[in-house]
Assembly symmetry: D3
Homo-oligomer: 247 residues x 6
């Protein structure tokens, strides 16, 4: 049994509070166990210079943690005067993943800014960010669609993410919490679509390696978890769910 | 009547969620109308270099807004690579105000880091931050006290803050929301103690000035509001309230 | 008696050297006791992006100290690579104060850059900067007026500033020098117009508080001092003085 | 056939110039087709603060491109004043990969700084960096070993990397050059050991996704390529090769 | 005799590898003894803002060292977040020197970016950079000329540079290597044209001074060395050599 | 005749105000024509890390301009967040020049910080800075000597600097003002000692070159001017003058 009494293939409890903030076009507070992330989607009526005049849109993401989201207080990146390598890796991942299921041609010359701010961290903040950000983007895009600013619904498929890992004593596990993550030999983040295709695989064995067999076990746990996350997304999204992948 | 149907001397609805996060020694989510701020207090077992070896403590504060706390998305200060002048003014104010009611000698060689992160903004974010941060600090200091790491309870008095202002058509008003604030001729932030003493007065008439009479009207509104805020603090703090100012 | 033999309501000796530099449109060297500030006003024939096309002007201020203006050498902000919070607070204050007595519509699409560079510091550098900068701006605006680049004289009133404070042993005092300032319990900067209206009030009790009675005593000292400073401004400005507030 | 007449499972021509520079403890110039990287390994007789006093060592990597390594000149990161997200991702990857095959306990309180400077880029710069950096580290560690500064040879296994990808018209391919990389739907970087274990998998489908079947095809191409790269490493390393994995 | 057995008026061995890289319009790898610099010239079809619309071009240079070009590893300037004073001095010198022999009017509204990246350092890196950069610029300008993008050949004269110095025990010397340079009392960099005119003289006696007589001895050594360097440039440049100074 | 009616070998009017500021150990306001520089020397009782424990001292210099020292307002380097290449070149030159005439062993483990702040610029600011900084350093060192903190007077010789240049129509000239400097084909800064030895020579022909004959004419003008500047230094320094070079 795991530290929090879960089965090795069991997700933590997932909760999504829709429209969590009044200003953004889309926003959720997603909780995956004790990990809590505010995900917002903001629509800006222009695109970055490299896309101007092409009639297509852009999605970009930023990620941050409150200083005391963690056990030990972190120094703010604004105080450091720069964004760390870890933050950059995560925000590039989130943006890239979202762009794989959204038809940028259909959103017109607009940028969707996704902000994932972790207010409490207990492992899996980047995958919770992707799962929550997808819903926030659906809300924001839904507003554009209802206001008839865009003609077709540009979300081609669902998108969710989770972590899997291998602990030397307990074997492969789904959805690692912080303590599990810090003890894992291998850690893999998987991003998948509703139709079961891979979008991103990032497997790392720091001071350890993994075999082809272990890779397959981890991928199979990840599939199971992501399909469950997508069921939760469907319920949360409500009526817009039927538009996804249908236009 | 005001835009949100309040009387000119009426605060917005104030709510405080105690122990909002699991990691910090003290934390609250304070709402003043639609303004929402996560205030945390973190205890670090050392002081900045200029205080080392003197046996006394330090309190410092940081303030930030989520990018989409506001109507228009703000660029993150970490992306800009620097903290703006407005942010620096506010965090210096919060730290200075808290230090006026806390006996730094009694907390030993510790730093209390206060973080005020605005997740939704509708005017008065700096004063809500002070009012909420005071409670978070009481929780954090209470932990030290209960663990017998400090001998006497170092909080000398209550501390709360509000804004007052003058709108050319409607006269002086208490606790401005964003729309009122953006139309005000004069804007004043007042920080006071439970015994009614001033800690900070910051009155500004950008492109306008104010007379001694108007100053007095604003100060009197501020006093009324701050005493009400301190009543709310007392209820929130619970049993620790009786320690404040009594050691 | 005070450390420099002044009465509690007595300003230090104030001297203004007009047109101190050859290049700027307006410049003075102001001395308030041993505090010496070079204040310049530079006219730029364009406005910041947020004002373009509106036919109105802008005034902005920057403040700095030479490294050895002070007892201990300060590290240059250019070497640090950033402007400190204290500097930002002061330059925002100077700009805001000047904008309150100048009709920005009358100066056309121009920016007036005010630079206050402290070459020697003995307390009260920010208030000496405001008092001196006002004169430099009058000179610069006078040039525009004489060259008929602007139609009406845009200075609506005089503007000067001083500090007041409370020392625990000696009570309230006007125009603190550095030693007094470092011993004061309460420190207040007051900016006023020639007609006696407040423009800015910034009262701070770090590790101390102040009562309504003490506030009134300080405000009354400040009024006396500022009116004396404005008399000195009038003499310095000469013939242009009659234009102020008359158009 | 591919743009440069290779088979889909064929590496580009790989050349390694050993001891390319006179100053570093280890250095190579590695060419993989037209991609050329100078890889150096520098030994510093101390570790970062978080490791001091633990008797173990550290390996860290930095990566950069000359401004004109690419078709279009890039702005230097030193001129920008910051390191980009892409660079940070790559240097974190290189360091992490090397640490997986080196016994940090055996190198003592030393840091091995790995520098990978791309002087010419034609795709696959990060994987060429890893393959070359491994050899440079072996040289540097060999010096320590021969000087008897370390007791056992700390390299546990070989390490090499390559890229694989899927082009919509041509299917899966090994070792993409720049043109292939820019047309690929899916791009995956694989880092493996001499014993065929995975160290890192980074698969990305920007604006595309990939199935489990495609993943397997890519992994199998990667294995073939990496084993060939490791043969080249063995030849290059010479006599030290027999020490790897044998202590 | 000198440390490397040279005569006091003898250059180190100079080698130039033409067209060293595939992407830049001009590139060389120049070796002066153990000092090795990759010099590239990149043509950009626009000029900096201060020159736009004037029909003339610009040449600018950047200089950097690989971290392990030197005996001790240097921290990258991109990691420091800023360019050092030494680097700025050198890149300003290289750009200024090149502009003295190139007719900026003849190259049209183009910028030639010169990049000098030291891959191995043994003294004289700035003068080797100038000597090599001149050749790279000739190649790049030759391409423009052959493509008939410019009408006349804009190189007015040859340009090369060397260092001279005085060692207290051995007297004046030509082309100092690193050990000589670190022991020299006086160090002078001289940039000259093919017709023997001075372009730059930078003589420095840190903790020492030099007389008029010593100055003359150093200038005469420098002349001799630079004329030899220009002969090497002529051979390297080949057919384009006859265009220099003839249009 | 020159623009300001000087002979080609005539310096501008030089004035030195001794002990210009109350806080620094040494300070002057030097005027060379309309160029005015505040030069201060500050004594710090420690040395930079690379010199600790060696019993010798250090001299370092910083240089800056007030934003409106010039015809057009300059952006502050603190606002830009970095020091420009020009500033770095100048402050390195000033420090290096001063170190050549001061015996660092005799000042003990102290740093002398020299600050040259240009309050008005009309050409020759770097050479005026050196000439003025020398006097400020003599004052600061004199204080140490009188307080018997150092045993022997560490100034070995006088040090002054001037500029010379060649204007195409008027030939070689001494001490260029801004207009002359901006029209000059060749510009040379010369730093010399009281005994007529060179300390620094920096000759530059941007978009022009100069012959050996022109070099000699310029050097001879520079010698004449520097000897006159040293006479002015002697008068200013007063009684301490007899110590220079005599211990």
């Amino acid at each position: 049994m795991r530290i929090d009494d879960r089965q090795h293939d069991q997700l933590r409890k997932v909760q999504v509070e829709n429209n969590y903030l009044i200003h953004p076009e889309g926003s959720v507070l997603i909780s995956v166990g004790d990990t809590k992330v505010i995900c917002t989607a903001s629509v800006e009526e222009r695109v970055p210079p490299f896309l101007r005049g092409q009639g297509k849109g852009w999605i970009t993401a930023e990620y941050a943690m409150l200083p005391r989201a963690t056990q030990q207080r972190n120094i703010r990146e604004s105080s450091k005067g720069k964004v760390t390598g870890r933050t950059m890796e995560i925000q590039r991942l989130i943006g890239r993943a979202l762009r794989s299921v959204i038809d940028l041609d259909s959103i017109g010359e607009r940028t969707i800014w996704v902000d994932c701010d972790v207010i409490q961290a207990d492992g899996g903040t980047r995958t919770a960010s992707i799962t929550g950000a997808f819903i926030a983007v659906v809300h924001a895009v839904g507003q554009l669609y209802e206001a008839k600013k865009i003609k077709s619904f540009p979300i081609k498929d669902y998108l969710a993410a989770t972590s899997v890992g291998i602990l030397s004593e307990s074997g492969p596990m789904l959805d690692l919490c912080y303590i599990e993550d810090s003890q894992a030999d291998v850690d893999m983040n998987v991003v998948m679509t509703g139709s079961g295709e891979y979008v991103e695989l990032q497997g790392t064995g720091e001071e350890a390696t993994f075999s082809a067999g272990q890779l397959n076990e981890m991928l199979s746990l990840a599939s199971k978890g992501i399909l469950e996350l997508i069921e939760i997304q469907k319920e949360t999204i409500g009526i817009l769910a039927e538009k996804i992948g249908n236009e």
